[in-house]
């Protein structure tokens, strides 16, 4: 039985994680923290949550709880996550970090996009970027896993086969992404008010302005020797959850659609959580929400490869993928606790 601690259990991601771990047959939640809600129960915030008591994060130190856990999940804001990771690793507790702190490998890029110096730059190179499907050899026993961002997950899973084939591509790749509102977090804000979102649809941070852009381009560089640049356009959808990315990849040479389809079929043939759709079908939110599945479709239009990719932003894009990572780190069945 893995002993688990959760930092930041009251956000949407933290709650989703509690739900998954409650179903998981090999884990036990030892503690769950919330600075704002310490002293109450998670069930007071989410009506279907189990009665998990919420403690102040400082009480993990004060109460000697580090020695009671094997692994902690960090559902914390950036910077706070890194500081907590340092403590956990000091106590030999493994870390699955759902924040952005250990996704980037370059401290300067981090500083530029997050507006402050990285709190623990020495750890940046040690983390495993937990896109499980492509790091199954690196995850077992890993001390620090950076769970990919929600948009990057939807886009990178769609791009990997074509990038890894290393064929010549033009710039830019365009990823036109649409996300449900839970991706913006649980804190009340004007632009998340029901009346503002309902019946509306809004682009934001489009072009090269969103923090997930450098994360995606970094990984593209791992897979392709001369990666194209990226245009990434997020939009806010009037739904509670789910991301659909429509991606346009400009090929330099003409290829057959069947050849590209074969790349994808080969890559994802045995993946429990990636569903590559038959020709003529497109991914929709309905393929993915409430599951850890990523659905991907492909269509070639002249020399433009059009991909659609759908995930649940809170599951495959956050808590589900985090548990998938944990399963591989500790040698559990990768599917345990997850719906595919």
């Amino acid at each position: 039985m893995l002993k688990v601690g959760i930092f930041g259990a009251t956000g949407y991601t933290g709650y989703e994680l509690v739900q998954i771990l409650t179903r998981h047959r090999n884990t036990e939640i030892v503690f769950a923290t919330s600075r704002a809600e310490a002293g109450s129960y998670l069930s007071e915030i989410y009506p279907q949550a189990p009665d998990v008591p919420l403690i102040d994060p400082d009480d993990v130190d004060n109460g000697g709880l580090w020695s009671k856990v094997d692994v902690v999940f960090l559902c914390l804001p950036h910077a706070a996550a890194a500081a907590t990771a340092v403590k956990a690793l000091h106590h030999n507790v493994r870390v699955i970090d759902l924040s952005a702190d250990f996704r980037l490998r370059d401290a300067d890029v981090y500083a530029k996009w997050y507006g402050h110096n990285h709190p623990a730059p020495e750890l940046m190179a040690e983390s495993v970027y937990g896109l499980t499907e492509f790091v199954r050899e690196e995850l077992p026993g890993a001390k620090l896993v950076a769970v990919p961002g929600c948009y990057p997950t939807s886009i990178l899973l769609a791009l990997q086969p074509i990038l890894a084939a290393n064929m010549r591509l033009s710039s830019p790749i365009i990823a036109d992404s649409k996300s449900g509102v839970s991706g913006a977090g649980r804190t009340p804000k004007q632009n998340l008010h029901f009346v503002e979102v309902s019946d509306n649809f809004s682009p934001y941070s489009i072009g090269r302005k969103h923090r997930h852009l450098p994360e995606i381009e970094q990984v593209m560089g791992w897979w392709h020797s001369a990666p194209p640049s990226l245009i990434f356009s997020p939009h806010l959808l009037p739904v509670p959850r789910g991301i659909l990315s429509t991606i346009y990849v400009p090929l330099v040479y003409a290829v057959e659609e069947t050849a590209v389809r074969t790349l994808y079929e080969t890559t994802y043939a045995n993946e429990p959580f990636v569903k590559f759709l038959p020709a003529g079908k497109h991914a929709t939110l309905g393929h993915a929400v409430n599951s850890n599945r990523c659905a991907i479709s492909l269509q070639l239009e002249g020399q433009t490869l059009i991909l659609t990719s759908a995930i649940d932003n809170l599951i495959k894009g956050a808590a589900g993928q985090a548990v998938q990572c944990m399963n591989v780190v500790f040698g559990c069945d990768e599917r345990e606790g997850l719906v595919g």
Copy 2:
């Protein structure tokens, strides 16, 4: 041309009022206030708003603006509204108050439900309760109009004919009401976050706990010599706007449905903004939203009279009814600026 000032123009009600007055052929907006947004334009907040500059409410005094207006609309919190009304009346400016400050006639009841003493109790008896359909004789020339609350409007318009007939009724009348989210205001709150409201439906303050209860019972007492008590159960609907009330009135004696229908038909035959539906039809939000219309249906089941009543909470339940009042106060066509 009526010169109009608006206090509190950036809430949902204030914005709706600006839209209606912009269409109105006999009004000119002289100023619009917003303490938080002073210095900007309403169009920076609402993408389809006209370019109305927002001034600090203190600048109405400082800038000598009272002498430039004939009437002010108060879209302010309670207490703040009363304080502003005192100033306006002092300057001989007429007041259409959309807050709760002048709806109740009893200062003790006000203090009990609003948690503080009334700021201007001497004015309470002078206000006209602006349910236009039933105060057309009192409104012309009125100095201070209290625009009815949104729930009270939907419930009272449905109850008036049966109450005014003064037949014997049992207690309690039950009003099971459902409101869209704009009724809760524009300020971001956890329970108004898109993710909390979407796919959900929630009762709140049910029974005899909501502040609109004493307002409704007060008016019931004007219309019936021995009014029943009220059970009033509001619910939050996952829609941006609209109220539907389903109302159950227990009759003491058996009557024919046709006789009751005649009461309603007679009362509302010539009303431009009340639509009494034919037998077999029920009011829905679709009958009322985006208009100043109240749709009402009636069905008799044994000795229980079942009424349904639908309005747009921001129009007939607030800004539209306020303009309807203004039209009658100043002798304009009652329908000017309004869609029926």
Copy 3:
């Protein structure tokens, strides 16, 4: 391993049932029928469904499939369900019927409300009305279970403790119910078009007109020696799933709220799927959707008992309750396959 057949697998209820049975550790789906979609797979209709082949219902007879199953679930229209139940029982296969065919005990009442004579009146008395919480002694080994309707489930679970106490009550009890759209079925209809439902809210069949009324009154009569009459007002909510009923029970004598709370606490103390909420809380859809839970609240206002009751119409109101019944019929853990 229980061998299961499903008649009518492509409706919302049938699909929900497949999902639950796929999770269930003691069942195996032997066949699933669909007259319209025979020859295709359930996954072609629902993107997250397992690859269950759909067969024509006539092929159950023709293919000798009756001998391969222990139990069948009937997600069929009324009349068709009864005809299939007769066949199943003839083959000694147990029947869990989700239609309305075996809920009523009186053939005349059935004929009046469903517009045709009952196809198998001799079986009406043999069925068990599967509101599991109150028939745990009758279900084991039952041959024919009538799964309660969705609205009746939400209303009856809320009423049982107060009715079973047999205290004097006035008439009518009023149940103001609100249901998500899946309750109206999957067949496309004008009033179920997204544009008609979205931003709208509509009463329908209110008073004493809905087919669930005689079902509810029948069961009220089992629990109370002089049951009140019922006013039942359904409304269509713009959400995909969930029912919330707000119920008003007129008591004849004054009682203490704590005394009534004790009745409910006692009744539901150990129920895995009924959550009685603490004072001051109300049931919301969020308490119940995507689970087999019924959440109930209670508040006494003078002599009116106000109950709120929330379920997922497709789970506790249909497929989940059906599996709960099956579990008890066959001696499995009552919670198997279900989320509470």
Copy 4:
């Protein structure tokens, strides 16, 4: 007073048209047809519609109604529209056609995309493509106006300034468009059922498969001497109305964003129904729904010009633009009846 006839008044577009014409001070609706609903009133279908009687379209011929109207609006399926247009023109009645029949100029292209030969190919060249902003000289007195499709309107208004500048562009231009459900029409279909659309988001006919593609490319060819090809990806949004297109235009040479902004500002400076947004703002559905406005934004990212464009599909994308055309055809104020 213009005498107007409407063919196909009960669809979403027809109803929107009735609403606009009811507000219009220079028009009178002489007849409105509906083959399916002849004999009833529009108010029986739409609860806020005026009491317009619906007649069978054949009764226009039989009843000699052609001589009573100056202009007819055709809200009919393709082919049916062309046949009706022929009749109208024969009676010297002007035609504003909201179908696709007279948008394309090439009968072969029409036959390929619509699956049948054009019913009146001799009229194809005579129609004016009614994107009012760019045909104000051709519209006055026009006999036959083809109102642009909803997606083409949103895309073409965004593309016109950059195309008309005739600078060198690469292929393809990518238009990633998202539409509310009313764009799919009022006829009930499985994929338009509330439960299917709600909480979902779906691409369809993406790439070069949608019938609006040849229409858009045709007009691009009028504006640019070597127009790029188009990739056009429609998606279904869970909202009742509105289209947002995010458009990516690959420039061949580097330019300054301010230079491109000037093109747009110049083009749209005095347009009553096009709002070009300041730098840093993006178009959202909230800018456009319930009005005849098209909101457009621009951002240059390297050599990719990113445009966002929002309209109400039923107004600027259909009925509103049709009335705008009519106003110019007959010399009325272009804004009459319309909200900008």
